[in-house]
Amino acid sequence: MKVFKAIAWIALISFVVIQFFPTDRNESYTTPTTDFMLVNKVPSKIENQLKVSCYDCHSNNTVYPWYSKVQPAAWFLEDHIKEGKEELNFNEWSDYSDRRKKSKLRSIIKQIESGEMPMDSYTLIHKDAILSENDKKVVIAFITKLKDSLK
């Protein structure tokens, strides 16, 4: 029992302590002119879908959930967003060369097809980010068309 109490205290204290570690927040209120939606003609339905399902981790602006203010959740999110943006940042779309655009588009198709993206840990909370089979088809058809338009 004593041991339990000690552990509980240590946990409680460390929980309080980690709250004081700040994290970088991924927020920006302007959309750069290089954004995917601005440089491509995206049907509004698909635009909305991509923004809801992808932009939280693949752009410079995340719509944060309430628990993002609490550690260790904030670290977890920060890590995911950082990694997500490294892989693909829709806000910087036109900065990518055609070769890289094609690579990215191809990966987008593969990841949506296999259901790897949007991630399970994300859709668990963001139910609206889940793509139905039909949504997937429509998005993939659009992305494929875009990919084929690049030489």
């Binding site: 339990f4 509980a8 205290w9 240590i10 946990a11 929980f15 260790p72 890590d79 690579s103 191809r106």
Partner: protein, 196 residues
Amino acid sequence: MKTIKRSIRTVALVATMILTVSCKDANKNEAPSSASNEVMQENMDSSKNMAMNNSQNAMAEAILKDYFNLKDALVGDENDKAKMLGGTLAKSLGNLDKSTYSESQQKELTDIIEDATEHAEHISESDIKHQREHFKILSKDITVMVSITGTATKLYEQFCPMYDGGTAWLSTKEEVRNPYYGSQMLKCGKVQREIN
């Protein structure tokens, strides 16, 4: 009692977080291991091109060697080995010296290297199915790179019509050994072009 329970839960959560984070870091550091350096060393020694004074071409040859080692790992269905070699390749891609090429070539090379590095990095941390997906584009990148840098080795561009709507790769041997299917369909494909 209630507080204790809650705290225990917190401990578990924190512990999991810390573990996840540290495991991840460990994985990342694993890729460029000393073993991979040995492989590279071996390649460098065996490469006849090293005799040339052109260090820049030598780096392109080293990239090719790493690419072929990776290809062989995929042919052999060796996921872990391919991971390691993907890391090695990502490193050597960064070493390519572009200084003597024309401006437009330099631009293209930079672009190829950036793209190829990303694919090589993904290969260093993926399962074999993903590794093969990335290897497809990586092969494309390397093929374009060779068209700029040239190589002293005779290369065969091979083509498998079955994988992902038709996919090419490079090999130093005329005999087809398919990196996209491995043992499943080892000899699927044909030589579509000879380089040099």
